[in-house]
Amino acid sequence: MMNSVGPAIAVRDLRVSRGGVEVLHGLTFDVPRGEVTGLLGPSGCGKTTLMRAIVGVQIVAGGEVTVLGEPAGSPRLRRLIGYSTQNPAVYRDLSVRENLRYFAAVLGAPKDDVERVLEEVGLTGAAHQLGGSLSGGQLSRASLAVALLGSPELVVLDEPTVGLDPVLRQELWRLFHGLADRGVTLLVSSHVMDEAARCERLLVLRQGEILADGTPDGLRERTRTTDLEEAFLRLVEERAAA
């Protein structure tokens, strides 16, 4: 483990502009190690941009992002972060297994990792299929499998469970918590509020600002509702009133 004191991710006053418009307005928060943190918010609220800034592929206008004790984007971090993009990073003209073999080589992961991650995301049966012939859910699982290759200390997943059937979704969440139990930090985005309850910690984002940062229970208490969808609405009202 690298510098294992302090939070996995520390963001201070992060500002990002895209196309001349500021989309993240000075975010400040920490993501603790070894937990599953949910990044929630409606489509277009800046989740993907924030994840890109953490992974180090986003041009930022200001602020600091520190990941595992190093500035985001440092070469040393590239092996330690598993990242699954929203637009599945899968070559459509390669089989699933060929895709994983290539990314394993790039990430310096052992060869038998390919079969392990195929198993973990439930794609062993489709391993020989070309990326282009996969369903949307299979594609995003293939992309997720890439993020699990090697032994990442931080796994950043952009909407990994979109379009999956509930059984599979539950299996994946079990997998995420299993990773967290081994000390891996996970940051998982979703625009579905019911996934929030599965996280140990929540960051709620709306229009480039943080609406809430805490545990699901803390959020329920603060908004006096057990329904997270309702909680989100109350947070928006609270913000508007302030």
Partner: protein, 244 residues
């Protein structure tokens, strides 16, 4: 840069081609078919002997330019490039991977076109074979490198295809194929002097005439190789780890 990653990238691109039989068939067969067509259009061995080397020069360049620019554009527009930029892969690993994979394809392409020309079509080479092969291969690599570079300036595949005439036609018109370079108006000759294809065509002429593989031939080859290297380095500079 990491040789293991470069090789893995080249292998991955070859695997992608392996799944795409039609593209491979087009890449390998088209230059040969054009040579055969030229042979029957010319219907006279001396004219064919004059034009064949030029086609051997232009075609690998053209095909490699097109295939490379579209392949890399696809990488840029799908999620894969972003994922790779967040990984330990170096920019040159990616570019050299493409260079190696498509360079190998260019070898196959040139080998087939040459074999058919030299046997069935009876192309007569007074000199050695290797200078001709060398020029054709370098030219294919130049096409690959320029394709990589141009793909950075295209947002869509439609745009990428439009770069082909922009890059190709001036080089063919000013390269001394239709009008000898020395007979061009001075400004055109200056432009011709900075276009790498002009040197490739001159080197190809030397290679075909034979007997005179000397300093000038090597200078021309060096210029073509330098242009390919420059395009690769510029192409690497257009790849950014961080994007807006």
């Amino acid at each position: 840069m990491n040789p293991a990653i470069t090789i893995a990238t080249a292998r991955r691109i070859m695997n992608q081609l392996r799944h795409d039989h039609r593209t491979v068939a087009l890449m390998v067969l088209v230059p040969t078919l054009v040579m055969i067509l030229l042979y029957y259009v010319m219907d006279d061995e001396r004219s064919f002997a004059m034009w064949a080397p030029i086609l051997l020069c232009v075609f690998p360049f053209l095909v490699m330019f097109l295939v490379t620019s579209i392949a890399t554009l696809r990488e840029r527009t799908s999620g894969t490039l972003e994922r790779l930029m967040a990984s330990p892969l170096g920019k040159l690993d990616l570019l050299l991977g493409y260079g190696i994979a498509f360079g190998l394809m260019a070898c196959v392409q040139v080998a087939l076109a040459l074999t058919v020309s030299l046997t069935w079509l009876g192309l007569d080479l007074p000199g050695d074979l290797w200078p001709l092969v060398l020029v054709a291969l370098l030219n294919a690599l130049l096409g690959t490198a320029l394709g990589l570079l141009c793909s950075a300036f295209a947002r869509t595949e439609f745009q990428a295809v439009q770069f082909m005439p922009i890059v190709m036609i001036p080089q063919i018109l000013l390269g001394g194929i239709l009008v000898p370079r020395a007979q061009m108006a001075a400004p055109l000759e200056w432009i011709s002097d900075v276009l790498p294809m002009s040197y490739a065509i001159e080197a190809m002429r030397d290679a075909v005439v034979g007997g005179d593989i000397g300093g000038e031939f090597w200078r021309d080859l060096l210029i073509v190789a330098g242009a390919a290297l420059l395009a690769l380095v510029l192409g690497a500079a257009t790849l950014r780890r961080r994007t807006p």
